[in-house]
Subunit: 349 residues, 2 copies
Amino acid sequence: MDQSLGKASVRLEKPVYIINSASVVGTKEGQGPLGLLFDKVGQDDMFGCATWEEAESTLQRDAVQTALEKAGVSSDDISFIYAGDLLGQSIATSFGLSSYQIPLFGVYGACSTCGEALTLGTMAVAGGFASRVLCVTSSHFASAEKEFRFPLEYGNQRPLSATWTVTGAAAFVLGGEKCQGSDKNGGKMCARAKITGFTVGKIVDYGLKDSMNMGACMAPAAASTLERHFIDYNSQPDDYDKIITGDLGKVGQRVLADMMSEKGYDISGKHMDCGIEIYDSESQDTHAGGSGCGCSAVTLSAFILKQLEDENWRRILFAPTGALLSKTSFNEGKSVPGIAHCLVIERCD
Amino acid sequence: MDQSLGKASVRLEKPVYIINSASVVGTKEGQGPLGLLFDKVGQDDMFGCATWEEAESTLQRDAVQTALEKAGVSSDDISFIYAGDLLGQSIATSFGLSSYQIPLFGVYGACSTCGEALTLGTMAVAGGFASRVLCVTSSHFASAEKEFRFPLEYGNQRPLSATWTVTGAAAFVLGGEKCQGSDKNGGKMCARAKITGFTVGKIVDYGLKDSMNMGACMAPAAASTLERHFIDYNSQPDDYDKIITGDLGKVGQRVLADMMSEKGYDISGKHMDCGIEIYDSESQDTHAGGSGCGCSAVTLSAFILKQLEDENWRRILFAPTGALLSKTSFNEGKSVPGIAHCLVIERCD
């Protein structure tokens, strides 16, 4: 019964399947390098709503609806939702998902929330407590700027180390069975990928206080979780086709490579960062890259799982990273601690 | 392997034990009816800190330290922490628990967070993913007033339906084994109680918008979860010695009794509310009762588990309730949805 490896890691006896998933993004993400891969791209970033917060709620609702349709299941087939966002008291989630009438666990890990939700959902399915769960996360550029920084109307300048909060949400349907019967054309409906294990991250605080350089704040947490994973799994970077962090951006990527090198791991040929992939920083004025609970989530759904399905990759490490700050903690002069969780995601054979 | 009952409920094949727990509270809670039962009462509500937020972080840290000591385990013996609070981006948790270096899942369910954390921790242990976990929640009157309402200096008046946010934190060590060896005097160290199942709540929104009457906002969620539980378990109120909600207060209690009666369940002789128990509303000017992530948590640790240990009760339902609002959602004219999770907690025989 005991599936734990060391204290922080789990290798599952039986994998949990990502039955299907969906991504919904804003205009800027639709114009980026991954634009054609997302399930839905908004016509504008209000998504027909009166406030940024409602727009973000709508992103979550649309992502869930699309994921359910793609998985061929209804909301009645889902036992629990694990969901979160960046806003105070997670209101994008509360107002976005209430109409589904599904038992809900609210989760918060800043931009690592997608990793946290998938890990908790995986435990529920693998432990025999639910046959299917949904994991949902979102972020919205404008609601995040309002929550953490300055009103958009100020037009304040952003340093090159700053990241751009992704407007997007993704939803993942997890279940214990690889195939889910047939679709309407009689084709076999099989899962997109399987989760075979995970390593849960701890809070890592190097005392950095620059909320405009979150990549540097989060890189130590990513390094801590990846090192823990390699030790617990007795594995090496070469055992994975890609090692994919969340929102480190270009500054954080360099810090992570240096820190892993000091720990004796060369990840330079394997590393990819969702925040770097989602925008073209040259043409889109996004500086260091993308961030937000939606960033790694929509990249996983639209791009990463597709690489596994297309047999370009066989096994990856997916490690979303989060910066644990609030405007209150920032204004009180506190540091920006980081956290990262990683999952082993493999191709369904 | 499948332990689910219906969609929202689980009855565990093997119970999860509350090995030990601890509660730390502020001065007002120390002067209340349960004052003598808490493990620690602060000399003032700053707990030696410069800000209310740091004081709340200290509450969490002290509760964890005391719970670990009482359980006779070290932080190295804990696989995961499940923790949360009411503040934006859960900063009381992030800054309170980073020093423990334990893998962390941040959770948010407003004042229901204690129930959510215990449910998730229970799944991790029962599923064989961790041998021991910690579940921690906190709230602080002054940090909550700052987060949700008015600066304390305004001295604004509160209606009689308002609740008083509890200054307090509690931590629970969960594990799979009933007894944990011997204490230093050779006595057997056994768990305080056992968790035998749970029902996970969904968001319930009756469209109420009065953030000064959260009991009425949360009562429909409590009613929904309790009804779901009775149906899934095929049980009745009389199967439990007490049915204990979180922070409904005096107004919410009446609403809950009426709603349950309409659903065909008479809980009037069994119901207890942590928010009503923790203060003497007559002498302490707390109006409808207590609330906050700390309210049900410290009441469970200090009072409820003691009743099970003292053999006054054999089996209870513990159903913390949360009001899912933020100052942003309130200012944008949104409703206050509620959520409630319930656990079946039984005496260790």
